[in-house]
Amino acid sequence: MSTALTTPNEAPVLADRSGAPAVRIAGVHKTFGRPGADAPVLDDINLDVAAGEFLCLLGASGCGKSTLLNLVAGLDRPTAGTIEVAGARPALMFQEHALFPWLTAGKNIELALRLNGVPRAERRPEAERLLELVRLAGSYGKRVHELSGGMRQRVAMARALAQGSKVLLMDEPFAALDAITRDVLHEEITRIWSERQLTVLFVTHNVREAVRLAQRVVLLSSRPGRVAKQWEIDLPQPRRIESACVADLSVEITEDLRREIRRHGQH
């Protein structure tokens, strides 16, 4: 494994695991309905996400990725086990932008700032700074329906950042976008991740996307959801999704994902 292949201003290839983890998931079980009677969705998940790490959770549809993310976000409680998140409530981005249509782009961000306790006078300038960060400087007064899909996701990203948390949870945030827009947003999220030294827990079922973005890819098995396999991706950033090394690794991971899925057909 190579280390320190960094150029200035860029994140390290591999996460630094010496400090305390930003997210610690220990022995987490989740069952909807009656524990014991209904099959668990998540079964003994153990996962530490290092501070500043970019981790992609990969798995077949319905394997419990969103369930796990919701648990980390505090929207739901685990049936057993503990989840610790360093610092404040983590920010969460959904597959749909989830922007409020009764507010402008800027006001959506300001609401997040307000609920985060930012004083009134600082909200507007901070909202404009965040819009600039996602390269939407002129869109403060735009309504949600006036923005394109990619722009909406960038505003949603700015709103998530406005929560002031270092931990950003993303649930297939780019799944509904076309390939070119997604490409652009991959670039944005890796830039913002390294600029702001965020810890990102990114859910996807797109293997290439995972390899394009992550320092570490975690494959979840289905029913019950368990950590099946992990890969450290030591390709230097910025990566291109169409590059050969991303493709090679994707083939390898896809093979494992298929094996995971095939396992279910045999019983």
Partner: protein
């Protein structure tokens, strides 16, 4: 940096000039933003006049013309169907007696203050029923039942309980309007996408601040529809109550004026009363509720501007 071909064309299209060297994707991004941005245009005034104002005006003129025609053909005796001109005459009489304004205002004032009270009472009821499950199970059927009961049915009861006075009028208005306002809010809240609630919770909006920042604004379109219907119910029940209950304490509102005209067999006055009641009801809807509703829907991109 990865060795990639630079998209020179896209680069120059980036007006902000924020593209870092080597990152051709920023040019692509600027291009995408420019291509995808949705243009929202408002229809010009002349088109609004032609498409929205002209047809109803023509419709009213048509009704007047038909009315005049039937009158001129002497299909019915004129004490049953007076001419439009005779009704206009009654209006002028009222105007010169100086009572027109006071009659209309008596009813409008009652209607509006009753409606405001109904909003103040109906809104918390709606919130409570929508969000608290046991309350919902108990109260929601009662509310829908009340909504389908014509509130005229309450007039005799209100008169016996409260006497023939303003309180009875307000009671009838409230019984008519509160259920529809509460039901509007309930259905507005039920239609709020769960995604907004989850997004609100991750942003830290819970309890009262969640209701204020997420739930109520998200439910606003349904709430407004309920308010609009609530006004219609208020106005109808008030007219019914004024028609039925008669007392010097009540003064003369539109309903009472209508009933007085019937007493004196003045058909022109009766028609005038009906027209005034209609005009007030429609005018409040057109001047107050419709513009607010359109504004809210347009700002959320829920209104098709062109058809």
């Amino acid at each position: 940096m990865a060795s990639t071909e630079t998209a020179a064309v896209a680069e120059t299209e980036n007006p902000a000039g924020t593209a870092a060297p080597g990152s051709d994707l920023h040019g692509v991004e600027a291009g995408l933003d420019a291509l995808d941005a949705v243009q929202v245009q408002r229809t010009p005034l002349t088109q609004v006049l032609r498409q929205k104002v002209l047809p109803p005006v023509l419709g009213v003129l048509l009704v007047l013309a038909l009315w005049q025609l039937v009158y001129s053909l002497h299909v019915t005796p004129s004490y049953k169907l007076p001419s439009p001109l005779a009704v206009w005459q009654s209006l002028q009489d009222l105007w010169y007696q100086g009572t027109l304004f006071s009659i209309v205002w008596t009813s409008i004032w009652r209607g509006i203050s009753g409606f405001v009270a109904a909003v103040v009472i109906g809104t918390p009821i709606g919130l409570l029923v929508a969000r608290v499950r046991p309350v919902r199970a108990a109260v929601a059927p009662v509310l829908s039942g009340l909504q389908s009961l014509p509130s005229v049915a309450w007039v005799p009861a209100a008169v016996i309980w409260l006497g023939i006075n303003d309180s009875a009028m307000y009671a009838v208005i409230l019984l008519g309007a509160v259920p529809s306002i509460a039901n509007g809010l309930i259905s507005g809240i039920d239609q709020v996408p769960p995604l907004f609630l989850r997004a609100g919770r991750t942003l830290g909006a819970r309890g009262l601040s969640g209701a204020r920042h997420i739930l109520l604004p998200a439910a606003l379109p349904g709430y407004l529809a309920g308010l609009k219907q609530g006004w219609a119910f208020s106005w109808r029940s008030l007219m019914a109550a004024e028609l039925i209950a008669s007392s010097p304490d009540l003064g003369i509102g539109l309903g009472r004026y209508l009933e007085n005209q019937r007493d004196s067999s003045n058909m022109a006055g009766v028609l005038l009363g009906i027209i005034l009641i209609l005009v007030v009801g429609v005018a409040i809807d057109l001047l107050v509720f419709s513009p607010v509703e359109r504004r809210v829907l347009r700002s959320r991109g829920l209104l098709q501007t062109s058809r």
